[in-house]
Symmetry: C2
Subunit: 640 residues, 2 copies
């Protein structure tokens, strides 16, 4: 299902040309223009029609921030050709705690990227096909699962799939601008379908409240900035010259993002798009499904050219759903780095058969599905949790870069042009750090009570968990380490106890195996739960001529774990320094349901013996025919 295994040596083959890297790493920042404008309008619309003009200021501020962030990250692409995610940059320049803070922020935001992008993509679909409305959760979960499956197959195939919707989206947005320009030039400015709806204010805003509303609108619109980090993180996946190709791609993406965001916001204002979370503000019944702002603009711009409108919606949905893929690249890679540094469980470090980090992909998909289900696929509520993480990592990353350049500048004997270039880079990153830090504060203030507190709790928890995991691995490594003069254990003899429940083929096999261990002493042990059973067992024991004496323990409480453990501990106490082996006959069945049919007492005993010092448990397997059938079936599957 996820393709044939790939050889490690083929990793190099999967390097990406710019035209494929752009859709893979940039569908996130590009696609967010599909909802950023609407999120601004939803906030300023709380003040009614009279405050809609605030959107101009918010959008302008966002364009400035976007330009600065793009410029900043271009420096990172050059400075970190091996991949300069916020985690690495923070780790190398700001220390462990800053790095883990950045990592927590990124991990949380990758999950939200998936959730927000997919939910927004589904909204684009239901705007075009209202009949699908009401199935948002199911559709979103379906798309996340699809993405996870694609990513379990590997990077290259994904690149080709992504090129079409990403370039299609860019093309149709510009085509929409062209249509709009022609219509406006010919004197007939189109109006959005919601232009004639009223837009009642939720409450009156003035003074500080007005400022706060504007800042909140700006904070919501900042979703347009998410995902810029992905390119600097993914530098090693580019073709050579890696840094330069990555920086160029970032510049192109910055241009597309800014023009598309500005254009869509402009059209939304002149077409008078009215949107509201609470549809009663539009004079509609509560919970009336309404089209997205972009869909309204598209419908009005294209007019009679219905096909173009549907294609715009299709590509919007496509780029949004695939934008989630940025996270499917970034999350597992970051988790792998963190696991390699032993901050996360080791399983996240391993690449699967198809060279992708299968466990990370699966984990991300499950977390995103959890959020979608929890928030019932409601975009505006998910958006509240978003962006904080992005700006935490932006700020840390840019601050780290300032330090990085300081280190570079401290090197003696730098030629003047290099020194100047470094200074310029440092200045750019300093502006970036300052600006993103200010935005972070604004986002925190304006969104905290609207749901961002969840992230403000989740991030520190993740931080502490990663520290805990690290501490655990450190402690274990310490315990496992051996002195240079350590030699293998030399037990004084091996005392073997065979547990017997009945005299059947597995018991005979286990007894023979125990003999082959050439033990210092050999015991056969049974527990008398029912005296009649024991009598029968003794008779069989004699009939089969077994020369190991059978010890019988009594158990009035029908529990055989306790007496067995006591007996074994006693054997151990009488033979200090010796190895103590408990042999348990076991029959192996083939199917999981067959396990349910056999008594679990042996399992419970094994679990207890695992924690009994000095004891090694040996299960001597007797394979029933159903297990053999299963084995040959498995082998076929592996070979075929």
């Amino acid at each position: 299902m996820v393709g044939r295994p790939l050889d490690s040596a083929r990793l190099g083959e999967t390097l990406l040309p710019k035209r494929l890297a752009l859709p893979i790493f940039c569908s996130d920042p590009l696609s967010s223009v599909a909802y950023a404008t609407e999120e601004i309008l939803l906030v300023v619309g709380l003040g009614g029609v009279v405050l809609l003009h605030l959107a101009w200021y918010a959008a302008a501020a966002i364009v400035v921030v976007l330009a600065v962030v793009v410029a900043s990250y271009r420096q990172t692409c050059y400075a970190y050709p091996g991949g300069g995610g916020a985690y690495i940059v923070s780790a190398q320049n700001l220390g462990r705690d800053a790095a883990l803070t950045a990592a927590s922020a990124l991990l949380v935001d990758y999950v939200l990227t998936v959730a927000v992008s997919v939910v927004s993509g589904v909204a684009a679909i239901t705007s075009a096909i209202p009949e699908l409305g009401g199935h948002d959760v199911a559709l979103s979960v379906g798309f996340v699962s699809l993405l996870a499956l694609m990513n379990l197959r590997g990077v290259r195939e994904s690149g080709r799939i992504f090129a079409v919707p990403t370039y299609g989206f860019i093309f149709f947005v510009y085509l929409m601008f062209a249509f709009a320009a022609v219509r406006m030039a010919t004197g007939a400015t189109p109006r959005a379908e919601s232009a004639d709806l009223p837009l009642h204010a939720a409450s009156a805003f003035s003074g500080p409240a007005l400022v706060l509303l504007g800042m909140r609108a700006f904070a919501s619109g900042c979703t347009a900035l998410t995902g810029v980090e992905a390119i600097s993180n993914g530098v090693p996946a580019f073709r050579r010259p890696k840094s330069r190709n990555a920086a160029t791609t970032l510049l192109v993406v910055g241009f597309f993002s800014i023009t598309m965001f500005a254009g869509i916001t402009f059209l939304a204002m002149v077409y008078q798009v009215h949107v509201a979370v609470d549809t009663t503000a539009l004079g509609l019944p509560p919970h009336t499904p309404t089209a997205t702002a972009l869909a309204q603009i598209g419908r009005a711009s294209f007019g009679d050219a219905h096909t173009f409108f549907y294609l715009l919606q299709a590509f919007t949905a496509g780029v949004l759903i695939l934008a989630a893929n940025t996270a499917f690249n970034g999350f597992p890679m970051l988790a792998s780095i963190l696991a390699a540094d032993s901050y996360l469980p080791r399983q996240l470090h391993n690449r699967g058969d198809r060279l992708v980090f299968s466990n990370g992909v699966t984990l991300l998909a499950l977390a995103a599905i959890g959020l979608i289900v929890l928030f019932k696929a409601e975009l505006t509520h998910l958006i509240q949790l978003y962006i904080i993480g992005v700006f935490v990592s932006f700020t840390l990353s840019q601050t780290g870069m300032v330090r990085h350049w300081r280190g570079m500048l401290a090197e003696p004997g730098l030629p003047r042009p290099v020194r100047l270039r470094h200074r310029r880079s440092q200045a750019i990153n300093a502006v970036g750090a300052l600006l993103t830090g200010v935005v972070l504060v604004i986002v925190l203030i304006t969104k905290f009570t609207h749901g961002a507190w969840i992230v403000a709790i989740a991030m520190p928890l993740l931080f502490l968990a990663m520290r805990g995991v690290h501490e655990h691995y450190r402690r274990v490594a310490e315990e496992l380490a051996v002195a240079p003069d350590a030699r293998p254990w030399e037990p004084a003899g091996n005392h073997v106890v065979v547990l017997v429940s009945a005299l059947h083929a597995p018991t005979l096999k286990a007894l023979g195996y125990a003999r082959a261990l050439r033990p210092t002493s050999l015991h056969a042990l049974t527990v008398a739960v029912d005296p009649r059973d024991v009598q029968g067992l003794r008779e069989q024991w004699d009939a089969h001529d077994i020369d190991v004496p059978l010890q019988v323990l009594s158990s009035p409480y029908r529990d055989f774990t306790r007496p067995v453990i006591d007996y074994i501990v006693d054997v151990g106490a009488r033979n200090p320094g010796g190895a103590l082996t408990v042999v348990i006959p076991e029959y192996i069945v083939g199917h999981w349901w067959e396990h349910l049919l056999h008594n679990q007492s042996a399992l419970r005993l094994k679990a207890r013996l695992l924690f009994t010092p000095g004891v090694t448990v040996v299960n001597v397997p007797y394979r029933l025919s159903s297990s053999k059938a299963l084995r040959s079936h498995r082998d076929e599957r592996v070979t075929g």
Copy 2:
């Protein structure tokens, strides 16, 4: 939480006097009078007020059937002092398939007894305290869980808890009859609160449809008969003389059931209780919560004596919820018998620490909770699934009894009075078999499309599953059996392979342990996923002066399972007839979450080796300090 463990020898102590056996085994048939009348009225009410009189006929027929069934089961109590459930009687007289059919029917019905009784008990509570309405599912699930916990504690304690509500219920129903008699005698017949509501017909019934409606009302009212079986099943739990005490208890219960059911139905008719599933038939908005029929009768009878009304409701709820306990006695006992005959998984056969069948109790509770949640605690829908199983087992049990007496009569030289007694018993059981068979057909016809088809599918599935389990155990036993001259296995030597991932304390311990096995040949094996790791390992190997040569296998696909298995299979092939032991160093951590932090590769390898013929896996445990802390904590818990 579930009390201290009990010694097996104390089983005899838990025998029950009649006054305690009655509430334990008979809360089911007694309590069902609380809803049987209402279920009749709900059906005949579909024909509107004009057809309410059909309830008289249905109730009369039910009284007749109830009397016959009680008489029949009294014969069983005498014939089977060791417990005469439908399964045992069918097995001994009708053969395996009949017995398994009875068993399927009983298992399904036990689950429904719990679900129906508890839901009905909750309805009694919400009738008295309307504020609790709407929390039916949560309340029902809570009560089932409570019952399960009580039953995990053991039978005796349960008996005392049950006595109060059962006798209280009987007392307050008769007190209600007394109040009603006095009021009617003084000329003022009370009217139910719903008497003035209209009762519109759902459709017109005439001819065959009318007959079918009457039969359906009768079938629904037959819930009054459920649970009669419990006493004949529980004969061994009675004090000596067991059979006689059980038969007497059954007679007393029969008297109570018939008089209470007849009385309640009589009062419902003269008070003109109007009930309907679809409350629009009563001229009320849809889904209006209404009081139960019994609650309406109680309120009207007691009038101003509000305290008596609330006590009636409290005891009704109590007896209903505890009626579910009949099933908590019967289900685990039957499951244990079936498990002993290897028709169900063996775990169901074992008594837990407190002498009760813990697994059966848990399984029953989970199944009942599942049904309650699935049917949203709606009584009338659950009732549709009920009774079929009861009448299947009634019919089989009575038919089996007829055969039983035939066998007894065939014995030569029976004294005439004994012969006459047997003939009389046979005649009673024959009438019982015939009557319950007819009722079964009526129930099937009238309820099939109303939900009974679910049971009609579930029962055969259970039947087939039990046959499958039996076949599995038979096949395994056959495979495990050994010839009388079989001797323990005598392997030609023991070849040991130690798997090495790194040179740390667990590896040194495993190497020493492998040496202590005094193997014919000893191999140390590692897999080169990363060449650098292997180089380091080799150096350490030499530095620690280990005299076992280290074999290195390469793995381009980052999978180490395959090369290891190939190597081991190869060692086995070169040493035919020898034992093959794979030693895996393992470090033991204490907490479940610590397991998540360690690589699962060894686990996957072990799973594969389990199915590799000739191989025995030995995990040599190296216990980390966290596991030791856990062990001492566990030991404290066991001792304390």
